[in-house]
Amino acid sequence: MARHIVASTSEIPPGGNKVVDVAGRDIVVFHVNGEYFALLNRCPHEGAPLEKAACVARLTSPEPGVYERSRVGEMLRCPWHGWEFDMRNGQSWFDPKRFKIRSYPVAVERGDELQKGPYVAETFPVRVEDSYVIVEV
C-alpha cells in the first residue's frame, strides 16, 4: 500500500468532506469530531455518491418513546435510500454480512515531518506549519 497526501487539514472543515482521486479510485475523506475517515465514494447498494451522504448519529431506542443518540456524526446515511454505514470501518448497519463500504487507513501528519518523505516536494507547496491528511491505498 502506498501513502498519498490528499489534503491539508484546513481543507476539510468539521462535518465536511473532500473527494479525491487516488490511484484511479474515487475516494471521499470525511472530517468528524477531529478524526478523518476515508471511504470509497460509492454506496455498495446502488452506487450513490457518498460525498452527498448525511453524517448522522447512531439512534437507538431501548423502549418506545425513548431515543438515544450516540457516536454523533460518525454514521453515514446514503443520499438515496438512506442505508446507514459506520464511517469507522464502512460496515453496513442494515445488512452487515452482505454490504460494506471499502474503507482506507487515514493518518494526519505535520508538514515538517512530511517534508522528510518522498511525497511532498514535487507536488505540494508545503508550509511546514500545516498538517496533512494521508490516505493509504
Binding site: 452506487g47 450513490a48 438515496w80
Partner: protein, 370 residues
C-alpha cells in the same frame, strides 16, 4: 496516428455495455414555484390558488404529506445548485440523470399541487390543464427526450374528456394519466368514457401511485408511519388491478393499454393466481368476463419496475420477473425521489442481453410507440 483511430466513435460502434439507451417511464419534474403556471392558468384560478390553495382530504390537520422522511421525498444529491426544488432545473436533470444514464426517452410524471387529489373539480381541471401546457413549454420542447402525459382528474369525467381531446389535438402527449385514488374503484362504469376515449385515441392509460383521495390507502385504514404508507402503494394498485379486470374494462376495451407506475411488481403473481382461482369458482357472478383474469392482465397491463424488490437471494427476484412476464415490465427510475433505482445496479439478478433490452427499452417503445 491514423485518421480512423482519431475519429470519435459513433454510438453504434461503442460496446453494448456503455450504451444502455434506456426508456425511463417515471421521471418527476417539479415546478420551481407556482408562478411557473401563471402563463397557463386563468387569473381567476391564480387568485384561487393564492387565497384558498388546495382543498384536499389529507388525514392530518394543518399538514401536507411532505417531507415524509426526505425533504420533498428527494435524493440528497438531487437539489439543483441553482436553487429550487429537486427536479425543477432541466440542465441539472440532464447532467445528473438523462445524459450519464443514457436515457433515450424519459416519461414525465407530475405530482405537484397534489394534482389528482383536488376535490374542487373545476380548480383541479384548471391546474391539470396548466400543468399539461407547462410540461410541453418547460420540458418537452426544451429536451425532446422528455415526453409529456395528459393529466386529468377522472371524477370530473366531462372535464377530463375535454382536456384529453384538447391535448390529443396538439399531438405531443404519449399517455393519459389518471389517479389510483379516485372516489370509486377504477373499474366502475362512471369512468368508462375516459377509457373509451383513450382506446379511440390509442393512448395508454398511466396510473401513478400516490395522492390523497377520500379513502384510507389500505384496506386496514390510515397508516401511522411513512414506512407503512409506502407499503400501501402495492395494496392500492392491487385493488385497482382487480377492479379494472373484474368490472370488465379490458373485456370492454380490449385495445386499451394500462400502465401501473411505481407500484412495484412483487405482488402481481399472487394477485393474478388468486383472481384466476376465484374466477373458476365464481364465474357465474361475472358472466361479462369471457376469459381468465390472468389473460386480461397479460394482454392489457404493464408495470414499471421501481421500487424494485430486493429478496435475499437473487434467484427469487429472477423468479418474480418470470412470473410477471419479461414483456410486462417497463424500467422506471423515479428520479429524483429518494427511492430512485439506478438502471445499472437495481436488478440484482442476471438477465440475458435480450431480456435486458426488453425491460429497459423495447417493451416501453412498443407500449408508447417511440
Amino acid at each position: 496516428m491514423s485518421e480512423v483511430i482519431d475519429r470519435p466513435l459513433r454510438d453504434d460502434e461503442k460496446p453494448a455495455a456503455s450504451r444502455l439507451r434506456i426508456v425511463d417511464c417515471d421521471v418527476h419534474p417539479s415546478l420551481r414555484s407556482t408562478d411557473d403556471l401563471n402563463e397557463f392558468l386563468p387569473r381567476r384560478w391564480q387568485q384561487h390558488l393564492k387565497e384558498y390553495g388546495s382543498h384536499l382530504r389529507t388525514p392530518y390537520l394543518f399538514t401536507t404529506p411532505y417531507p415524509r422522511s426526505s425533504p420533498l421525498i428527494a435524493r440528497r444529491d438531487a437539489w439543483p445548485p441553482t436553487g429550487g426544488p429537486p427536479g425543477s432545473d432541466l440542465a441539472f436533470m440532464q447532467k445528473q440523470h438523462l445524459d450519464p444514464l443514457d436515457v433515450e426517452f424519459g416519461i414525465l410524471q407530475v405530482l405537484d399541487l397534489f394534482i389528482f387529489s383536488q376535490q374542487n373539480l373545476e380548480f383541479g381541471a384548471a391546474i391539470q390543464r396548466a400543468i399539461n401546457d407547462w410540461q410541453l413549454a418547460f420540458w418537452s420542447h426544451r429536451d425532446p427526450r422528455l415526453k409529456a402525459s395528459i393529466l386529468v382528474g377522472q371524477d370530473g369525467v366531462d372535464l377530463a374528456i375535454a382536456e384529453i381531446e384538447r391535448c390529443a389535438k396538439i399531438g405531443e402527449y404519449i399517455q393519459i394519466n389518471v389517479s389510483p385514488r379516485a372516489n370509486e374503484p377504477l373499474g366502475r362504469r362512471r369512468y368508462w368514457p375516459i377509457y373509451e376515449c383513450a382506446q379511440a385515441l390509442d393512448l395508454p392509460l398511466g396510473i401513478h401511485v400516490g395522492g390523497y383521495g377520500g379513502h384510507a390507502p389500505t384496506g386496514g385504514g390510515w397508516p401511522s408511519y411513512y414506512v407503512e404508507e409506502h407499503q400501501s402503494n402495492a395494496h392500492t394498485i392491487a385493488a385497482q388491478l382487480a377492479s379494472l379486470v373484474i368490472e370488465g374494462v379490458p373485456e370492454r376495451f380490449p385495445k386499451l393499454k394500462i400502465v401501473f407506475i411505481e407500484g412495484g411488481f412483487g405482488w402481481i403473481a399472487s394477485a393474478v393466481w388468486r383472481m384466476d382461482q376465484h374466477f373458476e369458482r365464481f364465474r357465474s357472478e361475472v358472466p361479462h368476463l369471457k376469459r381468465k383474469p390472468s389473460e386480461y392482465v397479460r394482454e392489457s397491463f404493464w408495470f414499471t419496475t421501481q421500487p424494485i424488490d430486493e429478496p435475499d437471494e437473487a434467484r427469487h427476484l429472477r423468479a418474480l420477473i418470470e412470473w410477471v412476464g419479461i414483456d410486462r415490465l417497463l424500467f422506471s427510475s423515479d428520479y429524483p425521489h429518494w427511492d430512485f433505482d439506478d438502471p445499472r445496479f437495481a436488478f440484482k439478478t442476471p438477465l440475458t442481453e435480450v431480456e435486458r433490452k426488453k425491460i429497459f427499452s423495447t417493451n416501453a417503445r412498443a407500449v408508447y410507440k417511440f
